[in-house]
């Protein structure tokens, strides 16, 4: 029974990890940019939820309706004004610009919010329901639900809308996309906006689930990397599976070794094959995911 409980906890956490990885995955897969500031975006999202729920006195879950559009505009403008420009100088300058940006954001948050630990707690934070003898945290369930909604909406957007198709086309072949009438700079900016919008959601999850600091960004950036590398670039379903895998690692490893296990896993992974595991298994026809 204990094992089933661990599995359930891991899967519930997996949704959060998947959304954290999702934003990273979008940018890597579409814009072909390693965004070292993604962890800070998550923390910005966490502060956004904290501040909004305090200021407006609303349930933290509702803050996403404000923080998502705000974060989208933030990401869109950032890409349009700054990053598109630096990407024309090559991959490395762009990488370093995002690195610089992560530092600026982190210290700006330190300045504004002090280095203290933060956490949003609600009346239902610690409530548990019992289903078939298993304890299921209501909060974890809610967060998983939100995560899945976000993943679904994003998939729908990319599959069904003109802009979504344009973004996928740009990811496949930017030159051919431009020749089809797509403004590639704009497509990139929308993709970045979507990525920062997912960070608003992961920020909410982080703020309700754990304590966070202005300096926590690096940790979530690494989480995002692990999820992306395992799940594959720009592969949304793969990201969900990888998120759950990561969640299980955390639950099994516990507070002390969870992170370490995933780091080692990631390193081994990168060494063996810097592509993605799920994709490879798919190609070989071995995995059913």
């Amino acid at each position: 029974m204990y094992i089933v409980q661990v599995l359930i906890n891991g899967i519930l956490l997996g949704g959060i990890y998947a959304v954290i990885g999702l934003g990273m995955s979008l940018i890597l897969g579409i814009v072909k940019l390693t965004n070292l500031a993604h962890g800070e975006y998550v923390i910005v999202g966490a502060f956004a939820s904290t501040v909004l729920s305090e200021m407006l006195g609303i349930d933290p879950l509702l803050t996403v309706f404000i923080s998502i559009p705000l974060m989208f505009i933030f990401g869109y403008l950032l890409q349009r004004i700054l990053i598109n420009h630096s990407m024309k100088r090559g991959a490395e300058p762009a990488l370093l610009v995002t690195f610089g940006f992560s530092i600026i954001l982190k210290d700006a948050m330190l300045l504004k919010f002090s280095p203290d630990a933060r956490h949003i707690s609600t009346d239902y934070s610690n409530n548990v329901v019992n289903v078939f003898g298993m304890d299921i945290s209501i909060l974890n369930g809610l967060l998983l639900f939100i995560s899945i909604i976000v993943i679904l909406l994003l998939t729908l957007f990319l599959d069904k809308t003109y802009m979504g198709k344009a973004i996928r086309a740009t990811a496949d072949d930017a030159e051919a996309a431009a020749l089809s009438g797509i403004n590639v700079d704009k497509a990139f900016a929308v993709a970045m906006g979507l990525a920062t919008a997912t960070a608003a959601v992961s920020g909410l999850c982080v703020s309700m689930k754990w304590t966070f600091y202005p300096t926590s960004g690096g940790r979530y950036l690494l989480v995002a990397f692990v999820v992306v590398v395992i799940g594959g670039l720009g592969d949304i379903k793969g990201t969900l599976v990888a998120g759950i895998l990561f969640g299980l690692m955390q639950v099994i490893g516990g507070a002390n070794y969870g992170l370490l296990i995933s780091y080692i896993f990631l390193i081994l992974f990168l060494v063996v094959q810097p592509k993605n595991l799920l994709g490879r298994l798919k190609n070989k026809g071995g995995a059913r995911v």
């Binding site: 490395e92 610009v97 690195f99 610089g100 600026i104 300045l111 690494l222």
Partner: protein, 316 residues
């Protein structure tokens, strides 16, 4: 030896001798010495990061691994084993060299962002490991137990020594056969490979040299601070400083990191008056330089200089 080489050597030797003489005569106030310690150490780690990123195309975000390893080596040597801190530095260098060699097997197969990310993850993993390792005091860290504790002039001598050694090593390396290949790799890697440069071996050597020098400088940094804990020793902040120094000064030149380190330390000192703002302003400066002055200060001046020379030649 060309005229240019001679000028370089004379300038370096004069500066080196000047700083040595300053130490011997005791003409410097301890305050000035404190800045110079920082500058010398940052020059050292900046120079080797420049070798890695600017020449060999290996943008490492995990050099702090070697700073942490060396710092902990000194701390362990002096507190647990009660041996001289110099021996501790040597042990730190040895451990760093071994770790670098093992890592090289994994890292040198990777390209671009995968290399960058893996170096960072390795450093983070080490930090996380030390955080939960009771033997090294977990998150609380350790205090250097050195008696008598080295004073600022001793630290000055040590950091001046490592700085001069680093510059000499980098200079000789770049002048050697390996450096020739390395500079070629910087400009065009496939052409270099086609002309007979062994890319893999060159990369390994550069990685090893950078690990060793970063370890020595890191050990002195930690002795200067007096304590080490996982969040300081394995902090990404070390890499941030290296990146800034090289971007501001200019990657791919010897002089770049020297200029960058001086500006970095002075700027940080100046920005200390505005607590909390220093990294923000440094970050903005770095981004502006990447976009508008991609060759850094030294590179831009060099280009302007060449353009100016050409103009006067044409005019003549």
């Amino acid at each position: 030896m060309s005229k240019k080489t001679l000028i370089y050597l004379v300038v370096y030797a004069t500066l080196g001798l000047f700083f040595i003489a300053m130490a011997l005569t005791g003409a410097l106030s301890s305050n000035v010495m404190r800045y110079l310690v920082q500058i010398f150490l940052y020059i050292s780690i900046g120079e080797v990061w420049n070798l890695l990123s600017g020449y060999a195309g290996m943008t490492s975000l995990g050099q702090q691994a070697f700073i942490g390893l060396a710092g902990y080596s000194v701390a362990m040597a002096t507190t647990v084993y009660k041996i001289h801190f110099g021996l501790g530095i040597l042990i730190g260098v040895g451990i760093s060299a071994i770790v670098a060699t093992v890592l090289a097997f994994l890292l040198l197969r990777m390209r671009g962002m995968y290399f960058s990310i893996t170096t960072w993850v390795v450093a983070e993993a080490l930090g996380t490991f030390f955080l939960s390792w009771g033997y090294v005091g977990k998150g609380a860290g350790m205090t250097m137990n050195i008696t008598p504790y080295p004073r600022v002039d001793a630290l000055y001598n040590m950091s001046l020594a490592i700085c001069l050694v680093t510059l000499a090593v980098v200079y000789i390396l770049l002048r050697s056969k390996i450096g020739l290949g390395l500079t070629a790799m910087r400009d065009n890697i496939s052409a270099a490979a086609s002309l007979g440069v062994d890319i893999g071996r060159t990369r390994f050597l550069v990685y090893l040299v950078s690990a060793v020098i970063t370890a020595v400088a890191g050990a002195i940094f930690c002795i200067n601070k007096g304590t080490i804990y996982p969040d300081s020793g394995f902090s990404i902040g070390w890499t941030i400083s290296m990146v800034f120094i090289c971007i501001i000064g200019g990657v791919g030149t010897i002089e770049g990191p020297v200029v960058g380190a001086v500006i970095y330390v002075l700027l940080q000192e100046f920005l200390a008056h505005y607590p909390g703002w220093s990294n923000i302003i440094l970050g903005i400066i770095a981004i502006l330089i990447i976009i508008y002055m991609p060759d850094g200060i030294v590179g831009t001046i060099k280009k302007k200089w060449i353009a100016l020379n050409r103009k006067t030649e044409k005019a003549a």
